[in-house]
Structure formats: structure tokens, C-alpha cells
């Protein structure tokens, strides 16, 4: 179904009908009756479809996935009724869900823009009267709500028909050279999102910070922490509304990163206000932890239960129910806490504090004016510490040794994220890659333990439920499986650590970070 496509701007007073007239003088065309269409575009909060060059539109009760540039349809399905939030499981089984699954994962799709377009279809024909290029003249307007409309730049979509590439090239040349149309810099959807005042391409939770080596450490800290505060605030509404589990995840990552920076660069802050904020951020972390743990448990539940085989998989239904009930209760607590004056004051005060930090007296901030590159050298220290810790781990070392190494790994990961822009990619990328490999193994090792512990802790409650006995037996199998997976992760530790601590890697760290 893949088809080439390009959007050209209709400008200088050239209407859709005018374009059709100009073109009919050059090539045989058939023009259809103009009509209006309302489309609601959907994407994830972080714009995953946008990143993949796709657009998902609801049109007349159908959801259509299309190439954002050509508007060539790639898959479609019936639009589930009466919802403003779509998770993968809400979509009917079929091509659309299969196509979206690897892109969207656990994220929800929500409406991001409504666009009303007047469309005129003009088909370019060959000598058999067959359509060889499709043109769609579009006069779009974004609909912000109510009766208002925001006119967007009109355009002509030139869409190739598979197997007729030469005709596409010929028609495109006619339109750009003879008619003088130029390529639209971005798709209609991006124009609409922009006109509606939203972020084109969604809201990313990535750090993406550019620091300079001579920059003062306190100024660099403010840059990073402001960005993290932005991420927390951007993800707060979605967390409260429970749009999908990633809002809370991204919020927690930003809180954890903020805490890591508060710790790593503590010398740029005055001790007392820092203590207050560190306490506040720790509270946020604690407040959101149980909900996240249950989210993870439920996200992985399907996969875990599926491994049990058909008969036994059904037995764990009471467990799922119990996890869902716990999640509801924990979420209520978390939402109360996040909506509280205390949280609002923490975030407001933190912003004010960051705004005034660089100008604040430096008497009790010994590292404030040091170049940030000096602080970044800690990357070398943490790396060497990890190498030492990892080498000391034997087959019979206690679990805590691996957990501690993972914690250190998180610290290194944060440092690399904060200070990546100070170093060349060829230094940072291999380090991040081998560290990620190691952390994946250590993470799996710890997660399986936590999951098994959680299941064990639910045993009494499950036993008291209807169907509890069968569920308990199935849970026994689950715990066994989790333990096997934990052992598997442990078996993979040596190889992943070896890659992380390999000689060339150690040499780069010594050369760059001292």
C-alpha cells in the first residue's frame, strides 16, 4: 500500500479549483465533487506517531492510520465509540492494532487536534483512463472548540499510485516547475497543532540539555533542574487523570533525576534550603512508589499469566482483581497527595528557588562558580567504583551486592545524562550502551525479586477470595517462574559486566575523566 506523497502549498491566490483548472490544461484529469471532512487526529502525549511520520485520524466513525506527508492510508479500523482515550486493548484486533502496537506500547492515544477541510479530489489519468496520480486539494482549518475556526495554509497533496512512479515524477515536475508550487514545510496536522497552541510532535520527557564546559556549576544545575521540573509539571495532569501509566513513570523519573542532581551537585546549593527540598522530593518519590509498583505488576501481568498455559492462566484472575483493587486504593492516596497544597507549594517554591539560585550569595555554596566540567569528572569516579564493586561479585555473593551495584549504576546513568553534552558522542554512547546492558540485567534481577515478594505478600488475601485456592496454586507457579527468571538474570551478569568493564572502555574513561 506504500505510496509516495508530497504536500505542496497552494499560495498566491491559487485556490483548489484554480489548481485543478491549471492542471487540466497540462494532463488528463478527472475532478470529483468537492466535499468537507472533519478529522480528529490522535497521538500519544509524547507524539510517538508523529515521530514515526504517521498520523492517526478519526473520520466518520473510522480510525485511519496514514503517512503524515502523503496521507496515504496504511491501516484502518472502526473507532470505538464514546471515548477520549484509547489504549491498544480498546482497538479491535486487526491490521491497525498490529501496526500501532510496537509504536504506541503502553501509551494512550488521545485527540490532539480537530481539523475541518474542504477537499477536492483530482485524479490524473493515463491513456487507459486509469488513475496514475492522486491529487487532493485541501483548504483546512483547525477547530479550537465552539464555533471558532483557525484557517490553515491550503495545500495540494500529490499522492503516487503504486507502480506508476514515472507519472508521479512527471506530475510533480509540472506542479513545481510549470505551476510554480513549493513544498509545504510540514504536514497539515503540524500546522493545526501549532495553531491550537499545543506542542508539535508531542511533549517529550527527555532531558536534551546543552551545557558548555566553562559554564558555572550552579547555572548548569538550574538549567537541568528547570527542565526536570518542566517534565514533572507536564506529566502531572496525565498522572492525576490516569491517562496512561507512562505519565506517572516519566514524572517519577524526573523526580528521581532531580534528587540525583541535588545530591551530585550539593555544593552549589545552600545546605538548609537543599535539605528541605530533598525531603520534599523524597516524599514525592515515596508517595508515587506503590502506584508505580502496581502499574508495573499489571502491565507485565498478561505476559506472566500467558506463560502459565491456558488452564492455569485463568486461575490467576483473582490475583489480577486484587492487584487492580490495590491499585485503585493506592492511586486514590497518591492523587490526594499530588493534589495537596503541600505538593503545589513544593513545586512552586522549588521553581522560585531555582530562579534565584545563581544570584544568591556564594558563602555557603562552595562549588557554585566552579566550571561544570569539574563536577562532571565525577563520572570517572563512579565508573571506577562500579568496576570495583562488580569485580567483587561472585556466584555466591548476596543479592544486596547486585542491588547496590544497580544503585551505583543509576547514579552513573544520571551523571551521563546530565553531562552528555560536554563530551563527544563517541565517549558517551558506548558507555551508555554497555551501562544500559548491565542495568537491564541488574534491573531484571531485582524486579523479579520484588515481584515475587509482592506475590508472596498477597497470599493470605488471595486465599480468602473466591477461587482463591486455584489462584494460590497458580501464584506458586508464578513465583517459581519469577525465581527462575531472576536466576537467569544472575547468570547473564558476568557477561554484561565484562562488556561494561572492558579494557578499551576503562581506557576511554581514564583518558577523558581522569
Amino acid at each position: 500500500m506504500d505510496a509516495r506523497g508530497i504536500q505542496l502549498l497552494l499560495s498566491d491566490g491559487l485556490s483548489a479549483a484554480g489548481a485543478a483548472d491549471r492542471l487540466s490544461a497540462l494532463v488528463p484529469v478527472v475532478t470529483q465533487r468537492a466535499h468537507s471532512v472533519d478529522r480528529t487526529f490522535w497521538d500519544t502525549f509524547d507524539g510517538r506517531l508523529h515521530k514515526a511520520g504517521l498520523a492517526l485520524a478519526a473520520v466518520g466513525g473510522r480510525l485511519v492510520l496514514m503517512d503524515a506527508a502523503s496521507h496515504a492510508e496504511q491501516a484502518g479500523a472502526e473507532l470505538p465509540r464514546g471515548t477520549r482515550r484509547l489504549l491498544l486493548d480498546d482497538l479491535p484486533a486487526g491490521a491497525l492494532r498490529e501496526r500501532l502496537a510496537p509504536l504506541v506500547e503502553m501509551r494512550a492515544l488521545t485527540p490532539i487536534a480537530r481539523v475541518r477541510s474542504r477537499l477536492l479530489a483530482i485524479n490524473v489519468l493515463d491513456e487507459l483512463g486509469k488513475t496514475v496520480v492522486r491529487l487532493r486539494a485541501e483548504e483546512p482549518a483547525a477547530l479550537p472548540g465552539g464555533d471558532a475556526t483557525l484557517a490553515l495554509r491550503p495545500r495540494l497533496h500529490v499522492v503516487g499510485v503504486r507502480g506508476y512512479d514515472a507519472d508521479f515524477d512527471r506530475v510533480l515536475a509540472l506542479l513545481t516547475v510549470d505551476v510554480g508550487l513549493r513544498q509545504a514545510p510540514r504536514p497539515v496536522l503540524d500546522d493545526a497543532v501549532d495553531a491550537l497552541g499545543a506542542a508539535v510532535g508531542g511533549t517529550s520527557s527527555k532531558l536534551r540539555i546543552a551545557l558548555t564546559p566553562q559554564e558555572r556549576a550552579d547555572s548548569a544545575a538550574v538549567t537541568i533542574l528547570r527542565r526536570l521540573l518542566g517534565v514533572i509539571e507536564a506529566n502531572l495532569p496525565g498522572t492525576l487523570a490516569d491517562v496512561d501509566s507512562e505519565f506517572l513513570h516519566d514524572l517519577r523519573v524526573a523526580v528521581r533525576r532531580s534528587r540525583a542532581l541535588q545530591r551530585e551537585l550539593r555544593g552549589v546549593f545552600a545546605p538548609e534550603p537543599l535539605r528541605v527540598f530533598r525531603d520534599g522530593f523524597r516524599e514525592l518519590q515515596v508517595l508515587t512508589g506503590p502506584t508505580r509498583d502496581l502499574d508495573v505488576q499489571l502491565l507485565e501481568f498478561g505476559e506472566l499469566a500467558a506463560g502459565l498455559g491456558e488452564g492455569t492462566a485463568a486461575d490467576v484472575a483473582p490475583l489480577r482483581l486484587l492487584l487492580e483493587q490495590r491499585l485503585v486504593a493506592e492511586r486514590q492516596k497518591m492523587v490526594r497527595g499530588l493534589r495537596s497544597e503541600r505538593t503545589a507549594a513544593l513545586l512552586d517554591n522549588w521553581r522560585d528557588f531555582l530562579d534565584g539560585l545563581v544570584e544568591a550569595p556564594q558563602d555557603d555554596r562552595p562549588d557554585a562558580a566552579r566550571p561544570v566540567a569539574v563536577a562532571a569528572e565525577r563520572i570517572g569516579k563512579v565508573y571506577r567504583r562500579m568496576v570495583k564493586m562488580g569485580r567483587a561479585i561472585e556466584d555466591d555473593s548476596p543479592h544486596e551486592a547486585l542491588h547496590d551495584l544497580r544503585k551505583k549504576g543509576k547514579e552513573l546513568r544520571y551523571l551521563l545524562e546530565f553531562f552528555a553534552s560536554l563530551y563527544p558522542d563517541e565517549v558517551i554512547k558506548p558507555m551508555v550502551s554497555t551501562l544500559k546492558g548491565l542495568q537491564d540485567v541488574l534491573g531484571r534481577f531485582q524486579d523479579r525479586e520484588v515481584q515475587a515478594d509482592l506475590l508472596r505478600a498477597l497470599g493470605d488475601d488471595i486465599a480468602a477470595m473466591e477461587g482463591g485456592a486455584a489462584a494460590l496454586m497458580a501464584m506458586g507457579v508464578l513465583v517459581e517462574r519469577l525465581t527462575e527468571q531472576q536466576e537467569q538474570a544472575r547468570a547473564e551478569f558476568a557477561a554484561s559486566f565484562e562488556r561494561f568493564a572492558a579494557k578499551p572502555q576503562r581506557r576511554i574513561v581514564a583518558d577523558v575523566f581522569g
Binding site: M1, A3, E73, A95, L128, T131, R162, G163
Partner: protein, 249 residues
Amino acid sequence: MTRVVALYNIKGGVGKTSAAVNLAWTAAEQGARVLLWDLDPQGAASYLLRIKPKVRGGGAKLVRGTSDPSALLKGSDHERLDLLPADFSYRNMDLALDATKRPMRALQRVIAPLAGEYDYVFLDCPPAISLASESVFAAADVLLVPLIPTPLSVRTFEQLTRFVAAEVAMPRPRILAFFSMADGRKALHRSIMGELAASNDGAVLEAAIPAATDVERMALECRPLADFAPRGRASRAYGALWDELQPRL
């Protein structure tokens, strides 16, 4: 998951091509992504979609796996319907298949890399039982058999059913039939349709395609019925046939 439907009958002139084109178009109209492979060297399905019956490298390269099938596809006038056109060399398809390894799987191998792009693949097959049709049996999930309601047609259908059960390796395609060119004014047609409807085990679909001028006009219009006579009897009948068939795929 892509479903492969082969329009097949040992007899010619029973409405295979009309059904292949109209069902493929109807499925596309309803939002599915559809590929139609015109396997008949006469190229009637390609003609009805105004696409030249020509495949670069011919059928032999295609079944040998030395042509990239995705480079041979042609978009139709419907944006969700593509065609793998006919080629006159398909008349020698049996020879070409005979020269390949595991000829029974040859058509399946051609379709496999395209499958992810489409919800349905329709095969418009030439009449006869041959090596090519056996390769069709291996590739198809469903053999959809147009059946003119005459005693000889019914006998041929029974032959086919027996042949597939006895000779075709597992997994076998399901065989479904529908009445084609049915003329309600003929007592014989009515009687055979009634008998089969009462006796069959769901293998014969209820929707029947009438003998209608509109179907013959397709060759003049070079368009599917839904495009030039959407409210006609025949067009509605293909719609009903698809509605009945689709949930069974």
C-alpha cells in the same frame, strides 16, 4: 493476519473474475487493505481495473523468487486495492512451477513477503486442475468457488471437494461456494439452489450473484460494479456475499 481467498473453479466462465474484482473492491471500500493477484493469463481482472497485463520478468521469475513481487504491484483506482497483474507467460505457469523447488509452496512464497501489507489477498485463478492450482490450494486459506446452479456445476464442485480432501496436504484450505449467474426465472436453478441450501453443511453461502447485465457491462466500463452501478442488483449481491464471507475468513 492476512487471509488469502482464491476464486477457483475447475470450469471456466462461471464468474470467478467478476467475483474476485468486486469482492476485492468491496473489501477495500469497507476499509481493508487488499491485494488482488490476477493469475489468469487472459488478464481479465487486470483489464477490468485498467491495468496492463504485464509483469516484468514474467511468471517464471516470480515463482522462482528472482523477481521482487512488491516491485511488480500496481495500485488500482481504489487507494486500498493493489493488483499483481496478469502476464501472458502465466499460461506456462505449470512449466515454471515444475522447474522450482517445492512447487506446491511457490505461490505461498510469492505472497509471504507482501502479506503484512494487506488484510486480504484475493487470487483470481485460471480454470483447470493443474500444478498451478495445487499451488493455489497450498497458498489459500479459503477456496471460494462460484457455482452456476446446474447439475454439471454441482458435480464439478463435488469433484473438487473430493480432490482437495484426498490429495491436498494439510493444512487444507476451506472450501466455500456461492451461486453465480443465478437466474431465478429458471426452475432448474431454483430447484438446485433450494436442494443445496437444504443439504449442505454451510459450505454454500446464502448470498447468490444474479445473472445480470450489469456484470457483463463491467467489461465495457472497466470498473467494478460498486463504482458504476452501486445500487444495482448484482452490486448489492456482491456486497451481501462479502458481508457473509468476511466473518468466516
